[in-house]
Symmetry: C2
Subunit: 224 residues, 2 copies
C-alpha cells in the first residue's frame, strides 16, 4: 500500500486507471509496494520468476539480451516515470522471448505484483491493452537499437553514446568503463577500446583509468 501523494504519481503512469471498477482499484491498491533495488541488481532474467509491473520512482533500469557465451546487447533503458511491463511478460502469452533487466543505479520502484497484474489483465481488457501498448513502445525502442547496431558504423554509435551520456550527467567527465560502453552500444570491448584510441588521437577526448574526459564536443558532434 502506498501513500496518497505517491498514489497520484502511480495513477498518472497507468492510463487504464479510469477504466477500473472499485473492486479492481482496491485490489491494485492492496498490492502495490515500494521496492528498492541496489545498483547492478538483476531484477529479471530468463530463469527468474515473473516479478510484476514496475513503475519507476527514481533511478533507472537497463533491459538487455544475453548470448550463451555472455555477450550483452542493451535494448533500451528506463528512467523515473517509465513503466516496465516486460518484467511481467509471463502474463502476456504473445511474448515468447526473454530479456534481462538490471538496476543501473540504486532504483526505487513501485511494484504491482504478478498475481494482481495477471488477474486484472485477464478481467479488464483495458489493462491488457495497456500492457500491449507499453510493450509495443518498447518494440519501437528495440528496433531503433537494432538498426543502430546493424546499420550504423561504430564511430557514429560511440559518438552518439558519449554525447547522450554528457547531456545526462551535464558534465564532460564520464565515469564509465570500456566494458560498460561496449554493453550499451552492443559492441565488443576491443572494438570500443580501438575506437576510443582513434578519438583520443584526434583530440576529441582523453582517457584516464575508469573515466573519459571529452575535450572537443563539436568534433564529436560532427561525427554523427
Amino acid at each position: 500500500m502506498v501513500e496518497t501523494n505517491e498514489l497520484q504519481f502511480v495513477k498518472s503512469r497507468l492510463d487504464f486507471w479510469d477504466k477500473l471498477n472499485q473492486n479492481e482499484i482496491d485490489l491494485l491498491l492492496n498490492n502495490i509496494s515500494l521496492v528498492t533495488y541496489r545498483k547492478d541488481f538483476n531484477l529479471h532474467s530468463a530463469d527468474s520468476e515473473c516479478l510484476g509491473v514496475l513503475v519507476i520512482k527514481s533511478g533507472g533500469l537497463r533491459v538487455y539480451i544475453l548470448s550463451e557465451d555472455g555477450r550483452e546487447v542493451t535494448l533500451y533503458r528506463l528512467v523515473a516515470g517509465d513503466v516496465c511491463v516486460l518484467s511481467a511478460s509471463c502474463v502476456l502469452n504473445s511474448i515468447t522471448f526473454d530479456v534481462h533487466i538490471d538496476a543501473e543505479v540504486d532504483t526505487d520502484t513501485y511494484l504491482i505484483n504478478i498475481g494482481t497484474f495477471s488477474k486484472l489483465s485477464r478481467q479488464n481488457v483495458y489493462v491488457e491493452n495497456f500492457a500491449y501498448k507499453n510493450t509495443i513502445e518498447r518494440f519501437s525502442d528495440v528496433m531503433w537499437a537494432i538498426e543502430q547496431i546493424l546499420f550504423m558504423s561504430i564511430d557514429k554509435r560511440l559518438a552518439i553514446f558519449l554525447i547522450d551520456e554528457m547531456s545526462k550527467t551535464s558534465s564532460p567527465e564520464l565515469h564509465i568503463t570500456q566494458e560498460q560502453i561496449a554493453k550499451y552500444i552492443g559492441s565488443a570491448r576491443e572494438v570500443v577500446s580501438r575506437m576510443l584510441k582513434v578519438f583520443q588521437s584526434d583530440g576529441i577526448l582523453e582517457q584516464t583509468r575508469g573515466s573519459i574526459h571529452i575535450l572537443n564536443k563539436e568534433k564529436l558532434r560532427s561525427l554523427i
Copy 2:
C-alpha cells in the same frame, strides 16, 4: 466484399470478430477486398501510404528493415493464414519504426482498408487489442531473428536456413541465390558465398548457377 465460403477463413483469422456489433461487421464486410501482389512487389515501405490489415490467403510476405546504403535484414516471413498488421502501423501510435514488406511469391491476400481498420480500432477496444497482440507476436519473431544475427555464428545460421528451406520445398534442390540467402539471414553476400564454399568442400552441398543441391542433410544438421 468477399464470398461467404471465403468469409469463414477471414473470420477464423480475426479473433475479435465475435466482439463486433452488427454495424461493425457490416462496415468490415463492405471493406474487405481480395488483392493479388506479384512476386517481388513492395507492398509497404517507409514512404508508402498505409495500406491496411492483410489476411494472407496464399503465397508469402517478407518483412525487413533497410539501411541507408541499401542493406536488408529480414525480420520475419508471413505465410497463408497469417495476419499482417504492420502494414497498418500508421494507426498504431506506439509503433514509431518503419519496415518494408515485399511479396516473396505471387500472393493473394484479403485487405481490410486502412480507413475501416482505423475506425474499428478506435471504436472497439478488442480490435485495437488484436492489433497490439499481433504486433507483439511479431516482436517475438524479431527478437528471435535479432538474437540469431547478433549471437549465432554464420555457419549455424546458414545451416538452419538451408534446412528450413528444404523442409518448406520438400526437396534437396534449392533455387535460391547467394544474394537472397544473405538477405534472409541478415548477412553479406560475400560472407554467404565464403561459407557455402566451405560447406561444398565438406561435401555438404553442391552449387550450380542459381541453385544449391544438398548432398548430406545429416552433416548439415550436425552444425546446428
